[in-house]
Symmetry: C2
Subunit: 504 residues, 2 copies
């Protein structure tokens, strides 16, 4: 039972949680329903909410209440609540109001500049805004960690406790395996015939089929919904209100299906948080790496398996009669291609991590002051040439492709690769404990895997950080071997190539 | 130009305006998109926002700032801003926080109780909650107007300055004409054949047709949107973000078309408020009566005219080929029926005001303490028998039909009748100034009327109250004669009956 002082603190926290919830709804609406001309007013409302939230989060009343609760004896959950709250409160209090406002205003301006720059394929339009954002974020890093490394302070915002020093060997190992792999694939002269995944797929039928899959995964539409947006995402508005979005291509069913499985994977994590923690500090995922592990696990390790398709194919035939002779075996290679590409969000399972490696190297150099914003386009292209063997021919397919920097989100990208690694680690561990899952998948039974994830990951909220949780669940630190083993299996089947030494 | 003290005040007011905007979005989403299980969290978020808004509205900092601005010389607009702000602030400061919270909690509970009671057709389930609501609202009235009449204090919330004493002669006149009219219609033995308006109307075609009409009226979908809900409404989320909703019947096109024209009429008012007043006290309609006049004018005086149908019919034929022989002349009687009915929202143009009269009498008796909540069902049925000549056989078609009391909105209903009166007054005045509009309608030209309304009404925000504005525009007080003249024209055509002495 929570102590009176803890209850008093949590009652104050609930207002902050509600302001976060309201902000999430405004952002969701901005992507799904906001009338074109309403953007100006929306920006102002969001900035008012940010200011109110910062005021509440940094108020002396809240801090006093936190200290009062900390001074009393609390149980493990209570201690976790206060630990997480202190982290969030301290971070907010370290940022002067002036800087918080400047960051918010800069992001709002930069989103526009970036859209314009990308549309006109002209990096120069974005350069000045990006420079200001980097400067402000270096100032933010100095506030958050006066004696520490600036880029580590950024990484810590998205995956608490993870540093560049942790990531360097990870990317070294991945590059050591994936760069030669790309060369081997090229040398094999095997080009996967992707026509089995192509054709004409009506939007409604794509949505209905993917919704059926998401329900089978366990994503609840009574506590969620699906809407169309330019870029798919998952957002939690509040307890039992976890929404996902999708987009589709009429000529290829993969982006919609795997997009929805990906977002539903995120959604399962959020829907699986302990409801009794709603509106408290612990009612959130532990970090973006762990979050991405959930989406990637369902998208890649479940959704691209032949066993999944053994179950799904009859329903796929019904949804798309044009494809009623397609077999899981014919489809398999289309789900496990490996080839260099310019655009991260369209990259395959294997090369995706090289896209992230490129961003990691570039962000580190930028925050170490080793490169200026003006030099980014060339550094970007050089890095792609080195890692993927291809050189972008313009900024839109190069340095301008991602929205993250325009939102001031530096240090966010590495969590994508952490997610890929952790997904494979968790999946291996799940099969160690539950046995091979393919027979269950063939029956459309995903609940053993989902319940295992719920118990091990979702139900923990942010009680433990990602690294501790991986260590506790898998008995090992975050590492690349399981991902490489998984890639090896599929690439051997499609290209006859075994992946790197680590997969031995 | 606004003075520095006014600007400082308005900057503080903007936060309050944004909190209102955010609240409106949460409520809109609750009707359109909220996942079923998300209602609990939504209720908490709304209550947090209400508390924050009350805190801001009653803060000494805001009040000091108001006084500082009032102490300086301001132009007419500035004075209007401060007058409106003082009204809103004083009202909020008169309500103790305890009462504000109790009212919000009572409404939230009562909405559930009422839904259950209506669903089970059992007034007893709602009686206790309603009693509490009446008690709390009488307490509220006593705070707002310690020496005044309780019901007048309620009326003043929705239509500033209007009192029961103003409304008594209005309803007397309407009842004096409409009660005998209903008898005459019954004696005429004419029953309108409504089959021209009935058949099979696909939902998409209904929406597309009504959207075409709304656009022609001038409602902007770049600053608005249309969604399906159980009950149609119009809500302003913020500047350039005015949303409307609709519902439809597959077997009758009238509810959807006239519902959308009605809401688009409200929407035109909100979209026509001066954008430069966004986030200030003046950026709102002047009262609910004036608001309703806008929706009713478009729905009834434009949309039910034969001239409107001369323009719309070819497009109606295209939308509904089944009806491709229907003429405006054949349709006309179906748009101007007159017959007693139990349900207000389904009532025709003429009898609608008797439904409102019933509620006015009952609310007055309730707030004067002349009747107890337990006696309401019988009083309701007696009043319907007296005014409409029919007696409800159960509570769902009687006292439980409206949501208003469950929301604590007492004194709201009379604004519906005021809206009907003002609609006819404005329309007569517009034709006095612009000439007969039917030729324009036949060409689908609604902009002369719309621009006139924009100039005379929409662009004024709440600078003047409804009564003053009607007096200024029409040179007369709010009165029933124009509405009765308009009813007389259509009812003479359909039933061969001239409406009352006042229509002479």
């Amino acid at each position: 039972m929570a102590s009176p002082s803890l209850n008093a603190f949590l009652a104050q926290w609930a207002t902050i949680a509600d302001l976060g919830s309201v902000t999430a709804l405004l952002q969701w609406d901005q992507e799904t329903g906001l009338p074109e001309k309403g953007n100006g007013a929306r920006g102002k409302a969001l900035s008012t909410l940010a200011a109110l939230r910062h005021e509440q989060m940094t108020s002396d009343a809240l801090f006093d209440s936190l200290q009062a609760a900390e001074a009393e004896d609390q149980d493990e959950i209570g201690k976790g609540q206060l630990r997480q709250a202190r982290r969030d409160i301290e971070q907010a209090r370290l940022i002067p109001k002036r800087l918080a406002t400047a960051l918010a205003e800069c992001d709002s301006r930069n989103l526009h500049l970036w859209q314009k720059a990308r549309g006109e394929n002209n990096f120069a339009l974005f350069a000045e805004g990006l420079e200001e954002s980097v400067a402000l974020n270096r100032e933010r890093a100095a506030c958050l960690s006066p004696d520490g490394d600036a880029y580590d302070a950024m990484l810590n915002l998205y995956e608490p406790g993870v540093t560049a020093a942790d990531l360097v060997p990870v990317f070294e190992e991945l590059e050591g395996v994936l760069i030669p792999l790309l060369r081997e694939v090229a040398d094999s002269n095997i080009v996967v015939d992707e026509s089995p995944a192509q054709g004409h797929f009506a939007a409604d039928a794509q949505r209905d089929f993917a919704v059926m899959v998401a329900k089978q995964m366990g994503y609840s539409f009574e506590a969620g919904r699906l809407d169309a947006t330019t870029h798919p995402f998952c957002t939690t508005i509040g307890a039992n209100d976890v929404r996902i979005t999708w987009r589709h291509q009429e000529d290829d069913f993969r982006p919609a299906l795997y997009g929805i499985m990906h977002e539903a994977g995120h959604g399962l994590y959020e829907q699986g948080l302990p409801q009794e923690w709603a509106r408290t500090p612990l009612f959130q995922a532990t970090g973006l790496g762990m979050h991405e592990s959930q989406s990637r696990l369902w998208e890649n390790l479940v959704g691209r398996s032949e066993a999944f398709w053994d179950w799904a194919m009859p329903q796929f035939h019904q949804a798309f009669p044009e494809k009623n002779e397609l077999t899981p075996r014919e489809l398999y290679p289309c789900l496990h291609t490996c080839r260099p590409s310019f655009i991260r969000v369209e990259a395959d399972e294997a090369t995706y991590n090289l896209h992230i490696a490129a961003r990691f190297h570039i962000e580190r150099a930028l925050f170490a002051g080793k490169v200026d914003v003006a030099e980014l386009p060339e550094l970007w292209d050089d890095t792609y040439e080195r890692l993927l063997g291809i050189r972008p021919t313009n900024a839109a397919e190069g340095v301008l492709q991602d929205i993250h920097w325009a939102m001031g989100a530096f240090g966010y990208f590495p969590t994508y690769t952490l997610g890929n690694l952790i997904a494979s680690q968790l999946y291996e561990q799940a099969e160690k404990e539950l046995g091979n899952q393919h027979e269950a998948f063939r029956q459309g039974e995903f609940s053993p895997l989902r319940d295992w994830l719920r118990a091990k990951v979702h139900s923990q909220g942010c009680l433990k950080d990602t690294r501790s949780l991986v260590q506790e669940i898998c008995g090992e630190s975050i590492q690349a071997a399981p991902l490489l083993r998984s890639l090896s299996k599929s690439l051997e089947r499609v290209y006859g190539i075994r992946v790197g030494a680590s997969s031995a």
